[in-house]
């Protein structure tokens, strides 16, 4: 009897904790995405499989799917090949300034996609530093931008695992007669396999759902599923957009399932008190890895430098006019408000998005990491874990448009609600927040909580004494990431932000979309200047986060 009561209490407590995030995700994620799917697939209220077949049979759909597939696969492969040596050099070898370099490799990942798109345009376009390559407007530019983004994911995920790898297994192999190359192939890489697979899956996910970069660099010619959904939605071909969304959702859910399987429970927990082995001094054998690292760091810096250069030029002349124009209202017809106002909006929105993402993420992480006492409970927690990962892969465009046609309309009519945009951005950031907190919370030995409880601590006090001291750093780091994600979010925000209250990425997108030079500045130049401001803001946030040295940040 008492046992039944206890189980019931546990279930109720679990539900109570999960209620808020579940409700928010249901209303602001499942509802709009579902509405989009229904709208496209059953326009007249009943399912129309013929439409689905028709869309899938289109030439262009085939081309888009194929392009998405190969560009994402190539981007993933290159990110892995280039990211591995960097992960090794920055996490295993005592490189001077490794901490700063690690932080710098993280910057591209959190840069807003529009900014990266703009940066690559500036770099590869006519008169750009690498304009001679002739990559502007080609798939090469898109893949390069995808790799630029995702090397940091590989470096983070694999580097974190590599740093924690006990070097003695490799030493044992070496002493048994294995050359360094053999050690790498037969001991190190197999030991890193979970991290490699996890990184590959996540990078593929990011590559195949990339929006901002592909839209800026590919235009109409080279579309991925994500940008195609955007273009179709803009053209009000909702059935086609819904069909592609469905393809995307199914793919993403399958990928997430594979990812969950690969990660397993054991791979989730980072033992809290483990001291990683000291990086060792560089040896002659490390030279190739160090050279690749140097090249990657340089290549990573190039687009950012190109961006800065472009922002300082108008018609080939060096000038600060683009920056001065940021604060002038009505300087271009493309904008309703000055760029600096948009920056202020962005910061305000980011603050709101951050606390929302943290609140939801913390609740989810707590629910997911508490030790399950029964099989159904374990299954339920596993499903919840996967459920909250969904925003990671579902098209932000679908989400944004879906919100526009559901919660922005009566009976909810939340369009003018100032908290709508931050809430949606918080949902986009939620998976990252959860993934930052879960490994740390899962790594706390449950016996510590039991010890605290046996000493008379109430559940709330246990949380305060055991969990909080361990989790506050990751929590701050997650806050930084949520903040950066929000600052850079473009896909969903571009649908939802009101014209009189745009965020900075939206403004940049608009400036890039209306090229023209009026007076002292130029619209693209202003976009570059705004992008530099945005990049600087985000970088500052990331550098602060990096100072917290959370081991698993970015380990999705």
């Amino acid at each position: 009897m008492a046992r039944g009561d206890a189980a019931l209490t546990r279930t109720l407590r679990l539900l109570a904790l999960a209620a808020l995030p579940l409700g928010v995700v249901a209303v602001f994620f499942v509802l709009p995405v579902g509405a989009m799917l229904v709208r496209g697939l059953a326009p007249d209220g009943h399912l129309d499989p013929g439409g689905l077949v028709e869309v899938l049979g289109r030439d262009r759909t085939g081309r888009v799917l194929w392009f998405t597939l190969w560009s994402a696969a190539l981007g993933t492969l290159l990110s892995l090949v280039l990211g591995l040596p960097v992960a090794y050099a920055l996490f295993r070898v005592a490189v001077p300034g490794a901490r700063v370099l690690r932080a710098l490799t993280l910057v591209p990942f959190v840069l807003p996609t529009v900014v990266v798109g703009a940066a690559f345009r500036a770099l590869l376009g006519e008169g750009g530093l690498l304009g001679f390559l002739g990559w502007d407007g080609t798939p090469a530019a898109i893949v390069a931008a995808l790799v630029f983004f995702n090397i940091s994911v590989v470096v983070r995920v694999v580097g974190g695992a590599w740093a924690g790898l006990d070097p003695r297994a490799e030493e044992a192999a070496a002493a048994l007669g294995a050359s360094p190359a053999r050690v790498l192939l037969t001991v190190t890489l197999p030991a890193l396999r979970p991290a490699l697979a996890s990184a590959a899956a996540v990078v593929f996910l990011f590559c195949s759902t990339a929006f901002g970069v592909v839209l800026t660099l590919g235009g109409l010619r080279y579309a991925t599923v994500e940008t195609e959904i955007y273009l179709l939605t803009r053209a009000f071909d909702l059935p086609a957009a819904a069909c592609l969304s469905l393809v995307q959702v199914v793919t993403v859910v399958a990928l997430l399932a594979v990812l969950g399987r690969l990660r397993g429970r054991a791979g989730d927990a980072v033992p809290v008190d483990r001291v990683p082995p000291r990086p060792r001094r560089a040896r002659r054998g490390d030279v190739p890895a160090l050279v690749v690292t140097g090249l990657v760091v340089l290549a990573t810096a190039l687009p950012i430098v190109g961006l800065a250069v472009a922002s300082l030029q108008v018609r080939g002349e060096w000038t600060l006019a683009n920056y001065r124009a940021l604060d002038e209202p009505g300087i271009t017809t493309a904008l309703d408000v000055p760029v600096l106002t948009a920056l202020r909006n962005s910061l305000q929105v980011a603050v709101d998005a951050t606390w929302m993402a943290l609140l939801l993420g913390l609740l989810v992480a707590l629910v997911v990491t508490r030790r399950a006492r029964s099989r159904p409970e374990r299954v339920a927690r596993g499903l919840l874990d996967g459920f909250f990962m969904l925003p990671l892969g579902v098209s932000a465009v679908v989400l944004g448009f879906g919100l526009l046609v559901t919660v922005a309309r009566p009976p909810l009519a939340l369009r003018d609600e100032p908290l709508l945009v931050p809430l949606v951005q918080a949902l986009v950031a939620l998976p990252l927040v959860v993934r930052t907190l879960v490994p740390v919370l899962a790594g706390i030995d449950d016996r510590q909580r039991q010890a605290a409880a046996s000493l008379g601590a109430s559940p709330a006090r246990t949380l305060l004494v055991v969990d909080l001291p361990v989790v506050w750093r990751p929590l701050l780091a997650a806050a930084g990431f949520a903040f950066a994600t929000s600052l850079g979010e473009f896909g969903a925000t571009s649908f939802l932000s009101r014209p009189d209250h745009p965020t900075l990425p939206v403004v940049i997108g608009r400036l890039l979309g209306s090229p023209g030079t009026t007076g002292a500045q130029s619209n693209p130049g202003m976009a570059m200047a705004a992008a530099v401001v945005l990049a600087a803001t985000v970088t500052a946030v990331v550098l602060v986060v990096e100072r917290l040295r959370v081991p698993s940040v970015g380990a999705v």
Binding site: E171, A174, A175, L176, G177, T186, P190
Partner: protein, 327 residues
């Protein structure tokens, strides 16, 4: 014809110094390990003994000195070309390979034919008492089994020198004692030259012919096990060798104190209390000038009360004079 040992045979360390960031972890260590013998390097944790082992394996660059094997200097020879094998405290089995493939790992590196590899793996697993374990995953093994697999893997290619880093320390006492006996037997059967690093004197004595004591990065005493045990150099060495007490100029084992019948004991002390131990009843006596020691009470006489003054006899077989030669 009398077989003469090559004076330069086996492992020789001359003035080996290893420093981390300028702080020496091992200073001016010189050792000689003749071929076919087992040398235990004994020292407390942080004494530099593991550094010594890693230097021999080629895993730590030397700041000064030289490591030579069979007369050939090993400077510049990377670990995988030294023909040694290294076995760690926790085995360091490769988790993604089965037990059989772990043992076969060094054989495969040398491109041994498949049939020969299989036969050798079976032979090695039998040697370490793990017949039929070839298909098991390392994760399913107990600590002792894992160490046995690690030993089989290390022996697979008949290394010129086997390096053992606290091979038994992670195991529980009973298992440790049994495995120490097995290890000693296996090394002797194979005639393996081995360097063992440990902080446990029982492990060292059970396996090794010679012992070198390391403290604060320096080799403080070296010699045959019996010689070193019979004459520890100083009180600190004596403590490492299992003599926790010093009475006068002699090191005394924990078990060497018995209650003297009447007067005539070597020393005097005050009874603190009596207690039961796994070896029988013991009196804790605060020995004058020595401190609290366990004393075996006299059988068949009433036990002295706490606070009583007693005379204590020291069994000479449980003592050793301090001041033995350094090496």
């Amino acid at each position: 014809m009398v077989e003469e040992k090559d004076p330069e045979g086996g492992l020789r360390l001359r003035g080996v110094t290893v420093a981390y960031d300028g702080v020496p972890a091992l200073a001016d260590a010189s050792l000689h390990l003749p071929a076919g013998e087992v040398l235990a390097v004994l020292g407390p944790s942080g004494s530099g003994k593991s550094t010594l082992l890693r230097a021999v394996a080629g895993l730590e660059p030397l700041t000064a000195g030289s490591v030579a094997f069979d007369g050939a200097d090993l400077a510049g020879v990377p670990p995988h070309r030294r023909g040694f094998a290294l076995m760690f405290q926790d085995g360091q089995l490769f988790g993604h390979l089965s037990v059989g493939r772990n043992v076969a790992y060094p054989l495969r590196l040398r491109r041994t034919p498949r049939a020969a590899t299989r036969a050798r793996v079976g032979e090695l697993l039998a040697l370490v008492g793990l017949d039929g374990y070839a298909d098991r995953a390392p994760g399913t093994l107990s600590g002792g089994e894992r160490q046995r697999v690690a030993l089989a893997r290390a022996l697979a290619c008949a290394p010129r020198l086997l390096l053992l880093d606290e091979p038994l320390s992670a195991l529980d006492r009973a298992l440790r004692e049994r495995l120490a006996g097995d290890l000693s037997g296996i090394l002797r059967t194979a005639g393996t030259t081995a360097l063992l690093v440990t902080h446990d004197v029982d492990e060292a004595y059970a396996v090794a012919d010679r012992v070198a004591l390391v403290r604060d990065g320096r080799v403080v005493q070296e010699g045959a096990v019996a010689d070193v045990d019979a004459a520890p150099r100083d009180a600190a060495v004596a403590r490492l060798l299992g003599y926790p007490h010093v009475v006068g100029d002699r090191a005394v084992r924990r078990t060497a104190f018995t209650l003297a019948a009447g007067a005539g004991g070597a020393c005097t002390g005050t009874v603190l209390h009596a207690r039961a131990t796994s070896a029988g009843r013991r009196l804790l006596v605060d020995l004058d000038g020595v401190g609290p020691v366990d004393v075996v009470p006299l059988p068949g006489t009433p036990e002295p009360e706490p606070g009583e003054r007693v005379e204590v006899h020291v069994d000479p077989t449980g003592t050793a004079p301090l001041g033995g030669p350094g090496r």
